[in-house]
């Protein structure tokens, strides 16, 4: 999903914090159903809950700690262009975000009667107050609120007009919950009488709606956000071509890359840029600093506490909760203000920083508070997978043996099903010092190196992904080019006339999906067993 600020940005005013009780029983019912947002399936044992309910005094790391920041990220594949983030003084001069209560967005025709009018009567309410958090469970619960909190209410991705337009849903195949909620955006009331559509919450990308309408928070999201962005580009009257080009450039340009294909794209006509966005299938995401030419699949956050590198390229190190806070702060969205060898994506003329708080680009004129980041990280750490319906059987046991025999375990090492290492991509020579500094599994698996060499997040590596939870997610490979695990093991994918089942790029009809060519020569029986096993982990 693209993350950007559109020219149609609305004013976001500071408001009264007074809240009035809900007076209408009818509205009370309607609200109670989905105020809490979308219930995710997050099983947790009674013992865990008890442990989380004792008094808790958090030790909150300093996010923009200069020493920690200096080693928080790997250098880029083009080392001289490694991001230099804003100084701590600048960062802490940014105003803190205010967490206003937000409300579900219903698809047209599914909204409870009187809901919209009821929203307009609501007083703004600040829902995050660290002084009221007494237990670890309190912090996690508060973190969930922040996970769903939009950091943009100016229409950075989709607007109120979009989410109330039936064509937006049908044209983009927007998944809905059983209750008709579109869980990727939220209504925000920051001023009584004004209902704004909020974008760019963590949940916008990291929420998955299964076919049965069940919501998995934190899982590989499936909001067709890039398709939606393409749709907006084609339909929004207030999104002229220069603005489209500016946004695409701010999101993806990597001018330090020779003949940067992203920069070439952002100079093309509006329709071509829209087509490039539309080429991304659900489950992939043209996040800032990546590319819609080499998109990443959306990572599954469930289990992220055990990952030692974050991002597909392993850009960010994850040495503790402080690093997770840094990662969130950078991605929401301070990296727009980083200096990439003289290029600042949303800097003044891409050259200099705007005064703190004066940037007009979503996510760059304010910041999360330290307590907000801590709560967010605690929530992300707390995410639990849904109960796996696939049980162990003789077939899956055989599949496990295939998994071992074929050497899958070397990279996808149990119990995490990743060795938490980085594999270099074709075309990247591992510097000697990296072997000492980082966890390098020094051989390429031959997947498309585009993301890792041609983007602002490209390190020259791909992180070995965990296979945990593959039964509930997809598409697969770092670029989401294969929709199912069966496709991953399909030898036909190496053929030039193969039609990729996931991402293939705008205008591409057939394309070989090379790399990670393991298990392609298995017998049918072994493959079936391996697939069955993978569905159990």
């Amino acid at each position: 999903m693209a993350r950007h600020h559109l020219p149609r940005r609305l004013a976001w005013l500071t408001l009264s914090l007074v809240m009035k009780p809900i007076s209408s029983p009818l509205l009370l019912l309607a609200a109670a159903g989905l105020f809490a947002g979308v219930a995710a399936y997050t099983p947790r044992s009674g013992g865990d809950l008890a442990q989380l309910s004792v008094p808790f005094t958090p030790v909150i790391p300093r996010t923009w700690d200069s020493a920690a920041m200096a080693t928080a990220e790997l250098p880029l594949a083009t080392a001289k262009a490694s991001p230099r983030h804003v100084p701590a003084k600048y960062y802490y001069q940014l105003p803190e975000r205010v967490a206003y209560k937000n409300y579900p967005v219903y698809a047209p025709g599914r909204e409870p009667q009187g809901y919209w009018e009821w929203l307009k009567k609501q007083e703004p309410e600040v829902v995050f107050d660290p002084a009221k958090l007494k237990t670890e469970a309190d912090w996690i619960e508060a973190g969930e609120l922040l996970f769903d909190m939009p950091i943009d209410v100016d229409g950075a991705v989709i607007s109120t007009a979009d989410v109330r337009n039936p064509a937006f849903y049908t044209d983009n195949n927007i998944p809905l919950t059983k209750d008709g909620i579109m869980p990727y955006a939220r209504y925000v009331v920051a001023e009584k009488g004004k209902v704004l559509t909020g974008n760019l919450s963590c949940g916008m990308c990291h929420t998955r709606v299964e076919k049965n309408g069940v919501v998995l928070k934190g899982a590989q999201g499936n909001f067709p956000g890039d398709a939606a962005t393409g749709w907006v580009i084609r339909h929004a009257a207030d999104f002229p071509e220069p603005a489209v080009q500016f946004v695409a450039g701010a999101l993806f340009d990597a001018p330090f890359v020779p003949n940067d294909p992203n920069s070439q794209l952002s100079r093309k006509a509006r329709a071509e840029i829209a087509a490039a966005f539309e080429a991304l299938p659900p489950g992939t995401n043209g996040r800032q600093g990546t590319s819609i030419l080499f998109p990443p699949s959306v990572p599954d956050l469930i289990g992220v506490k055990e990952r030692t590198y974050l991002d597909h390229g392993g850009l960010a190190r994850h040495r503790g909760i402080g690093d997770m806070m840094r990662y969130i702060a950078i991605n929401q969205a301070m990296d727009f203000l980083a200096d990439y060898d003289g290029y600042i994506p949303v800097g003044v003329k891409h050259k200099t920083l705007p005064p703190p708080g004066k940037s007009r680009f979503a996510g760059t004129f304010d910041r999360y508070s330290e307590a907000q980041l801590y709560a967010l990280a605690k929530y992300v750490y707390s995410l639990q997978p849904p109960t796996n319906p696939n049980k162990t059987s003789a077939l899956t046991k055989r599949g496990n043996q295939v998994f071992i025999r074929e050497g899958c375990v070397s990279c996808h090492t149990p119990p995490l099903y990743t060795n938490n290492m980085l594999t270099p991509v074709d075309g990247f020579v591992v510097p000697d010092d990296h072997l000492r500094k980082y966890d390098v599994f020094d051989i390429s698996v031959g997947t498309d190196p585009g993301y890792s060499l041609n983007t602002r997040r490209g390190t020259g590596y791909y992180k070995v992904p965990s296979l945990k939870g593959v039964w509930y997610r997809g598409p697969f490979l770092h670029d989401g080019s294969l929709l199912t695990l069966n496709d991953v093991l399909d030898p036909n994918r190496l053929r030039a006339d193969y039609v990729p089942t996931g991402f293939r790029g705008a205008g591409v009809t057939t394309k070989a999906v090379r790399g990670h060519e393991f298990g392609l020569e298995l017998t049918a029986a072994d493959r079936a067993a391996l697939l069955a096993f993978l569905q159990t982990i």
Binding site: S410, T413, P414, F441, I443
Partner: protein, 175 residues
């Protein structure tokens, strides 16, 4: 008896740098390592050895052997390639595995125990290898080593440290 001996080795490497001596009729170097509970077997080929061995005077024997890292095979080509890399054998810098005897003593009829200096990835360790020499000029030996002693890979929850190595070399008659 003059023997062309050979070595052996680990998890999956391989490449033949050195020509095998003409007196070696057959050489087999196998290794085993447990990975995720499953025993992985591998081989090395292309060994070269220079052996001075008189059964009547084993204390005077000298054995020098080398085998190319590039010859390592484990049944999975990708793994074999990876084993050549710096995090494993670093074949570019250390193309051969070397074995040099420092002392050999008899332990029974046709049975001996050799002290060897083993060099892998430029790291030397002394190892002990019992071996036999048959009337058909066949030498068989076994030893165990720890891969982490030679900086081969990293500590792992699934890949064992211990590696079992077996060597069988048959020499041409009269050699």
């Amino acid at each position: 008896m003059k023997i062309l001996l050979a070595i052996w080795l680990l998890l999956g490497l391989g490449a033949g740098l050195l020509p095998a001596g003409p007196a070696v009729e057959e050489a087999e170097i196998r290794f085993q390592i447990v990975n995720a509970g499953l025993t992985v077997e591998g081989t090395l080929t292309g060994l070269e050895a220079d052996v001075q061995f008189d059964p009547a005077h084993p204390e005077l024997a000298t054995i020098r052997a080398a085998v190319p890292v590039s010859s390592i095979r484990t049944g999975i080509g990708f793994r074999d390639q990876h084993l050549q890399k710096p995090d494993y054998f670093d074949a570019e810098k250390h193309p051969a595995i070397l074995l040099q005897s420092t002392a050999i003593r008899p332990t029974g009829r046709n049975q001996y125990e050799g002290q060897f200096r083993l060099t892998i990835k430029g790291i030397q360790h002394d190892v002990t290898m019992p071996f036999t020499v048959s009337a058909t000029n066949e030498l068989r030996g076994q030893l165990r080593l720890r891969r982490l002693d030679f900086n081969l890979g990293r500590p792992s929850s699934i890949l064992a440290d211990d590696v079992a190595v077996s060597i069988r070399v048959r020499l041409a008659k009269g050699s």
